[in-house]
Symmetry: C2
């Protein structure tokens, strides 16, 4: 298996964007190619969760390749719900590792803000098991259920969850690519309108447009992908052993750390999938970054702040950088690359090993990627 | 790069099926696993063109994995429009070739017959370039345009195109998995109702449900994948150099033959993407299986019949076996495996090298796969 390097990274500003999905994809792709100093990739792996219904287009890989000026370059689309960007990275990684391609452009994006929120929520909700959907389950409703279980286990969770949002908004203020450029306080979070008890508006990520891209090559570059792992769980929440830990995250982390040959203690910075604030707390524990039951305390103590022991979501996370679905898993990788190469201006941390974690659906298809600047 | 073998193959009967897409996927998957003598794969690559709109489900990889009893097995979805099954094979191939997985289940399926034909046609039509769509282009309309160009070039094409359908229906009569079990005559084809001048109903493949699967492994098995190539072209037909040849097919063939280290003269049997009968004629020439301009004559002379020099579409092809979109590229591989291992009862040909060709969209994202029984 050949080593796989990240030769370039780029992304669009995340937020409400007037551009088309195709334009956003092209903007991110060409930023990554420029960064890599590459004119044309050998192949393209494109991620989008549901362009058919969000923007009315099919044949996404071909239309993306044509639109960005690479009509003759082999392209395929990857989809694993909200972790599609991370899955696309894996598919590109495999092509390079096998020696089948030499330079692969991996690009993911989504465009949703032109639709009204109930429609977006309905479309995203199709990730949920049929039977649970038939009882009205939505992603926030299921996340609320998980948050309730966390509170029942831990006691003080509401303030801890709020602190995740406060920290990530504070980081996003320093990130010009972020959806939100505004700090929030714990009180603001706890006073914001209820979405799915106990989750309030400011516990939840926004609906965002945007795209992100990396160029993977077999040639040595500044950052190497040292581990990449996937973990799965039952589609239905009711079939799981536990609500306060995601098996899919644990399995993905196990696989990624095994491939990299390092443990969680080596991670210097992490981008975690905080679609809902409690998910960041769970992930800290599921990935072994913080001892079980201690994530809330660590967050309140500032351990995961930009100047803490282990900065988490320096980009602002899904919460404040924003969550353009299939772009997200790659936006995390872009942030990791920027952090590892000293290009995270205004929010730079000291890091040699970075971790990105992406959650697909309600933690049915999760990914952990480890990157290193040797 | 490790060698990649097909350890098992299986598929559902193709046609109007009452079962759900999930049930069809599971039926094909378990048939392939039984054939491989494997209880559980390391990973699943699932293909579907548009389950969101055809059946209302998202998060397809996770829901498929859960439904077939492998909720903990890493799964991802691949989509390249109508060639999604072939693209999924490539993605699975890369994982094995890289040494990242040892046994990968590749499974594709589609369920459409519960929708009415105009709706299916509209959804498939989203594969077409926006601007051409805005003028009312549909897949049959564009295929009709291509057929007209072929006739302008060749003269006698209508009878030649009809003979493709006659041959493939005759083959399907011998295939218990085929959608149609009925022979047709040239006159019946030429008398069937007009769909998109000059294409008549019996020049066109049906709308079908079904699924197909293979198990890929790094362990030596009866059939090896020796070449796998992808070729692309502009989304818009109006941006192409020619209408009577598909660049995407030529590029895919070039890549596949180069990888396998053999030429088209070594191919003993081929499964080609005859969504519209003229496509089989074009593919014969684009892949170098028949000299340029000679495909019609070769077909009328019986060269591509079951007892001819080069049997083409012994399964009945998309025309008569049926075309359940993302299943099709894998159903072709299943037929190739059965032909190479002497299991194509009733339609068995002599073959050591088999070729499968899959077309995505209006020939925007095409694949050629070569298989060999060493």
């Amino acid at each position: 298996m050949r080593d796989v390097w990240v030769a370039g990274a780029g992304m669009t500003r995340i937020g409400r964007r007037a551009e088309s999905l195709s334009d956003l994809m092209a903007e991110a792709a060409h930023a990554a190619l420029r960064d890599a100093g590459l004119e044309r990739p050998d192949a393209i792996v494109a991620a989008a969760m549901n362009p058919e219904e969000f923007v009315g287009d099919g044949n996404f890989a071909s239309s993306t390749a044509t639109h960005m000026g690479f009509a003759e370059t082999p392209a395929m689309r990857i989809e694993t719900a909200t972790s599609s960007g991370a899955a696309a990275l894996y598919a590109g990684f495999a092509q390079i590792a096998a020696g089948m391609r030499h330079a692969v452009l991996v690009v993911g994006g989504e465009k949703m803000t032109h639709l009204d929120t109930p429609r977006v929520s309905e479309l995203i909700g199709r990730s949920i098991d049929h039977y649970e959907r038939s009882y009205g389950a939505t992603m926030p409703a299921l996340a609320g259920l998980v948050a309730r279980a966390l509170i029942a286990r831990n006691g003080g969770a509401p303030r801890e969850m709020a602190q995740v949002a406060v920290k990530n908004h504070a980081n996003a203020v320093r990130n010009p690519y972020a959806h939100f450029q505004r700090a929030v306080t714990v009180d603001e979070v706890l006073d914001s309108r209820m979405v799915a008890d106990p989750l309030r508006l400011l516990h939840c990520c926004p609906i965002s447009d945007g795209a992100a891209a990396v160029v993977l090559t077999a040639d040595r570059a500044a950052v190497r992908i040292t581990g990449i792992g996937q973990g799965m769980d039952t589609l239905a929440l009711r079939h799981r052993d536990a609500l306060t830990s995601f098996r899919a995250s644990r399995a993905a982390a196990r696989a990624a750390f095994a491939m990299a040959g390092v443990g969680p203690e080596r991670v210097d910075v992490a981008e975690l999938h905080d679609a809902f604030a409690p998910f960041e707390l769970m992930s800290l524990e599921d990935l072994g970054l913080v001892p079980s039951g201690k994530a809330g305390r660590a967050t309140l103590d500032g351990e995961t702040a930009l100047d803490g022991r282990l900065p988490v979501n320096p980009s602002g996370g899904l919460k404040a950088r924003g969550h353009p679905l299939a772009a997200t898993g790659l936006a995390q990788i872009v942030e990791c690359v920027w952090q590892l190469t000293g290009r995270a201006e205004g929010r730079q941390v000291q890091a040699h090993v970075a971790l990105a974690q992406s959650i697909g659906g309600l933690a049915t298809n999760n990914w952990v990627t480890l990157l290193e600047a040797p």
